[in-house]
Each structure stands twice: as C-alpha cells, then as structure tokens.
Amino acid sequence: MSIELGHFALILACAIALMSAIGGLTLWRSGERLASVLAQSAILQFVLVAVAFLAVVQAFATSDFSLALAANNSHSLKPMIFKISGVWGNHEGSLLLWILILVLFGALVAAFGRRLPADLLNLVLGTQSLLVVAFGGFTLFTSNPFARLAQPPIEGADLNPILQDIGLAIHPPLLYAGYVGFSICFSFAIAALISGRIDQAWARWVRPWTMLSWIFLTLGIAMGSYWAYYELGWGGWWFWDPVENASFMPWLAGTALLHSALVMEKRNALKIWTIFLSIITFSLSLLGTFLVRSGILTSVHTFASDPTRGLVILAILAVLIGGAFLLFALRASALRQGGLFAPISREGALILNNLFLATAVGAILVGTLYPLILDALVGTTISVGAPFFDLTFGALMAPLLLIVPFGPLLPWKRADMLAAGQRLVGAAGLAVFLTILVSALGGVSISLAPLGLLLGFWVTFGAFAELIERGRIGRIPARESLRRLAGLPRSIWSTAIGHMGLGLTVLGIVSVTAWETELVTTLNPGETTELAGYTVAFDDFAQIPGPNYMADTGHFTLTAPDGGTSKLDAERRTYVASGMPTTEAAIATFGLSQFYLQLGEPLDNTHVIRIWHKPYILLIWLGAIVMAGAGVLSLTDRRLRVGAPQRAARQTMEPAE
C-alpha cells in the first residue's frame, strides 16, 4: 500500500511541478502573489517526493520483495545501512534520489529566498519546477521504481557484495547534492536571461548556492577518490576515467563560477560570462549524471543498457541544454554589459583564473568525448588516457597555481604588481628553500617533481600572505595582530584557507607521484622484506571463512624506521555465490604517509606480495577537506548568508582603493 502511496505522491509532485513551471515561466511578472504560491508549491513538491522516496526506503528496509526494485537489489540478511544505501545502488532508485535532492534545493530557495525580488523568485522556481517535470516524468515513464511483482520472490537477489561498503552509502548522495545544487545557479541564469535583468545583487544571491554545491561536490569527489584507492587494491587514486572526468568537469566549472561571481558582485563585470558559466556548470552536471549512464560513453559504467532510456535522456539533455544556450544566444546581448578591467588587478587575476579553469574543462571534455566522436565519424578507434590528461591538465594548472597567491593581494580596479610581489617574497623564499631541501633529501626521481613541489609550497604559504598583511604580523605587537586577525571578515579567512587546501592537495599529488616506492616480491610466512626503511614480516597465512566468502588471509607485522610496529592483515576473498575474487588491501598510516600492502596470488608454493610506500598521500584528501571547510566558513560569513542580500548596498558602495 505504501508503495502505491509513494507512486501517487511522485505523480502528484510532477503534476504540481508542471503547473509551477507553466505559471512561473509565463506569469512571472505577476509579482508577490504568484511568488508565494510557487514557494508553497516548491515546498509541497519536496514533501511529496520525500514521501515517495521514503516509501521505497521502507520497502528496502522491511525487505518487501513484492517491490521489483527491492527484489532485484536487496536481501533480507543485509545489514540495515546497506539495505538503505541499496535504494540508490541502481538506476531507478538513484534517479529518485536525484529528484529528491532537486526538490530539496527548490524548497530551500523557497524557504530562504523570501527576500528575492518576486519576479526573480517566480522565474527561478518556475525553471526549477521544469527540471522536476523533466526528470520526474523520465522516472515515471521509463524507470518506474514503484513497479510491483505479481509473485514476489522469497528472497532478494542482493546487491553486489563489493558495493556493500560505507563508501557507497555516502558517496552518491554527496556527489548528487553537488550536481543538483548547480541547478539553482542554472535557474538563476535562466531567470536573468528571461527577465533581462542582472546586477550585482544577482551575483550575491547566486554565490551561496554555488558555494554550497561546490562544497558537496568537493567532498563527493574526494571521497570517491579515497574509496577507489582503498577498495580497488592497487593504490591508484585518480584514473582520468570518463566517469571521474564527468564529476571533475562540473567541479572545475563550479570553481570558475565561484570566482567569476565574485568579480560580478564587486565590480559588476563579467555578467554574460557568469551567466554562461552557470549554464555550463549545470549542463556538465547533467552530463556527469546522465550521459555517462546513458550507455553512450562507455558501456561498463551504465546501470541500464536499455537504449530507450538512453535516447530519452539524451533528448531531455538536448532540450534543456540546447534550450538554455538558445536563450543565451538570443538574450545575452540584451543584458547591459558592465565589465571593465585593468590587466593588473584583482579582477584581472580572477579572469585569468577563469581562463585556465575553463580551458581545462574544455580540454577534459574534448579528451573524454574525442575517441567517441572520432569513432562515429571516421571509424578509427583511439584511446585518450591518463598520460594525455596528465600532460594537458598539468600544463594548464601550473600557470594557474603560479597566480593563485597573487589574486587576493591585488586590489580591485588597478593594482601594483610590485607591491603584491613584495608581500609574497617570504612565501616564495620559503617555498624555494623547502623545495631544495626536500629534493636534496628525497632525490629527484622525476624531473618535474621540484617544479610541482615549488608550486605546492608556493600556493600553501602564499595563501597566508593576505592574513599576514592584514594582521600586520611582525610589525605590531602580537596581541594587537591577533585582535586584527580575529576581526577580519570570514571571507578573507576562507579565501586563505581554501587556497591553502589547494596547495596541500598539490603537495600530496606531487609527493606520491614522485616519491612513491613499490616492491613486488614473493614471500613465505616467516620471511621478511624491506621497503623505504620499513621492514615487513610475513607472520602467518590462514584460510578463514567469512559470512559469504572464503578469505586467504596474510598476517604481517610492519616495523617503521623509528621502531614502531603495526599489524597488517591483507585478504584475498572469493565470494561463494559468484566465485568472484576480491582483494582487501591492508593499509597502515604513519602521519600523513601510508603503507599499502596487497596479498597477491600464490606462485610456486609461495605468495606474491605487493607493497607500496605512499609518502604524504593523505594530503591529497586532507587538502580537499580543507577546501570544503573553507567553503563552509565562507557560507557562515553573514554577508554571504543564503538569501540575505540586505547588506548589499553597503558592500557595493565600498570605496575602491
């Protein structure tokens, strides 16, 4: 019964969304009264979709196998957390989650956006509802999660055992929250294009939503990367896989949007570009969610290889994205272009930031789609893999990283490069010194390693230059400096911390790329081997039965150079039902470095052991978490508080330096 209730709730939500879409997009000039109706509708849509979602969750939680989706993807003996995460471990359920997050964001705009001008709110909620209609309709007509089975099986088919991981429970919702959040920026852009009105206040309203989505996406990508690292068993953390690229492109575009909205907010420039970025960021998110899954890109990543679904999804994407760009082409010239900048200025630096990020998005997009297009047009198959992306992306990021520390130090409008440079002398000196020191100690295994290190240290330390400058550290008594620092706007802190996080991630990547050491050897219980100053002793080997698998388990003792020891248990599991082997790597953490051990296959009565020492690898993900934390800090800045533009006037009237 509750399943049918859920089904009905989703249909109702779509019907209401349809009315909102038509009303909002045609009668948007009706002002306040329509706005309150649309706001209520947005909240109602959320409640209804939540009911629909909970109905499916309940069926999974209570193992109601009369629901086809549960029968195909769940099992009564699964732990509760995996029963629930199993809801979005399939095509239909993940679509439902996607729509739930979509209406949640719509409801948030309705709840927090009461101070938006009514016309703008009407258009934003209208566009948002249009998205609900498109994807809700797609779910109902092609991917119904509420289908019942006439003869329910006694037991479910179970979720793939490998996917029963806490990573799966959290990773998709985070990623989806990031993707879907950009729909708000998209709706704001459409609203600006239709109404022909766009100003600094618009940028101020859009920025918190961009920031929120960006935080989710940052965490989602970082988590996915760490999950692949520990789960896939050979210690890789980024593969330039089309699926990863699809999540990375909206992140890069979203990062560019954060920075361009800043220029628009402060200088009333880059309006058309910011609108364009808003549209492109959400388009890339749609591409990330659906194009990859439609079966067009690569077949292995698809849940549903049903070509009808793929075609319908492509049609929806074509209409939404094509429509948005058509509107852009027709209306962009009607927007009054502000936009004045001197090359050496804060806005000049931010424009360069956008140039490099946008080019990187373009390069990754071309690299991801090129083999596909070439195959379709010419019939030649080529591969575009990690070496290509490393080279292209690296070449674009190096100059960007070089300018990052300058950005916050350059005043708006017209700046003095020399003055900014003087404030960075300390950071530059420290970066050069540490690079020489580390290269001397670690040896230079890759010729570009020192350059990477230099950039990493430069960004990390350069991030503090503005704090040092504003706090007058070293020039006035320490107590006075602290007082000044504490009084700084949070946006300044969040810029510094965010850029520092970026530097940390760069350092982690460089360190693990240049100084990772690997050992592949054969070992018997009782024997020891050495890597990077660590001693690995193979204590014993046992075959231990797990709940639904047999595990070959190797117990190892790892002795660090300082004498500390830790136990490592690595497994090779064979799942009874499927006969599928998996490896469970053992990971020991020393500070920010990790020791990664994998028990390989038996070879001539001995065991193949693969060991990696990954120096400072945790910096990669720590940097991402620091970046996301900086985003949260920025959201708490009351000037940026969601939907709180009332202080706009004072800020924009700030005298220029």
Binding site: L163, A228, P242, A246, T298, G362, I382, G385, E601
Partner: protein, 159 residues
C-alpha cells in the same frame, strides 16, 4: 554512484586469475625492467576499461607485459616496442595518442582554447580604455540596491 560502476567494471576485470605485474614476469636487469614498467603504463589493456597493462590484472595484460619485456630483451628501443604493439593492435593500444591526421584536433584543442580565451580577453580590455572603469553605479543599480537595503525584512516587490 558512478564510482560504483567503475568499481564493478574494474572488479569484473579482476575476475581473471592473474594479478598485475608479478615477480615471475619481471626482468633481472633493473634498467630494462624500469623501461618495461614505463612503457606498460602507457599501453591500454584492450579488454579493460581505461586501465593500463601495468595496472591491469587481465590475462591479456599479462601477455602484453611479457611481450613488451621480450621485445626489450631483444634490443628494441622504447619507440620500437610501441610501434610493434601498434602494428599488432592499432593506435587504440596507446593511452597517449600520437599526433597524426586523426588526432591533431585533439592535440591542438587545449592550446587553441587557451589562445582564443587570451585573445578574447585582450580584445575586451582594448575595447574599453582603462580608467573608464571608475564609473559609479548606474541609476538602475542604485535603485535596486536601495530597495534591497530598505526592505530587509519583507520581500521586495517588483522593481
């Protein structure tokens, strides 16, 4: 979610019994072995999704790794080994596509985008002389901002 799918793909690839580089394949000469690893990292495992033969556990990848080492022992240069594999399996085997009549667009894409962006910025900055940026807010903007700051407690009706 998508990570999950990659995972399935990669794990399906894991189903074959062999695992990536194993000691019995490795060459005794550390210099040659190092070259073999470097070459392997740039060769696609043809039956996997986006994995190099150095990372892959598929049987085919193992065969290719052994083949690469045989060619190196026979005295081939790195380029000759690559060419040998391309002759057998086509350009598809190279993860880093070589510049040719089919891939030049791919290779010039990023530099072209960058140059176009720089050109656009240059044109935009030339069009409007510096200094005219000192303009104050327009009437329209001042009106909007004034409304926003006045009506901080209620929704602003249409401007």
């Amino acid at each position: 979610m998508k990570r999950l799918i990659v995972c399935i793909g990669l794990l399906l690839a894991l189903m074959s019994p062999a695992l990536s580089v194993s000691p019995d394949e490795m060459l005794d000469d550390p210099v040659l072995e190092q070259r073999a690893r470097a070459i392997s990292a740039g060769l696609r495992c043809l039956v996997c999704q986006n994995q190099s033969i150095d990372d892959s556990d598929a049987d085919l990848a193992k065969d290719l790794r052994i083949l690469v080492r045989e060619r190196l022992v026979a005295g081939d240069t790195d380029a000759e080994v690559q060419q040998y594999l391309v002759d057998r399996y086509g350009e598809y085997v190279l993860l880093n596509p070589r510049l040719n009549e089919h891939t030049w667009i791919l290779w010039i894409a990023a530099p072209t985008l960058l140059a176009a962006g720089l050109g656009g910025i240059w044109v935009a900055s030339r069009k409007r002389p510096l200094g005219s940026g000192e303009e104050t807010l327009s009437e329209d903007e001042q009106r909007v901002l004034a409304e926003l700051s006045e009506t901080s407690d209620g929704r602003t009706d249409k401007a």
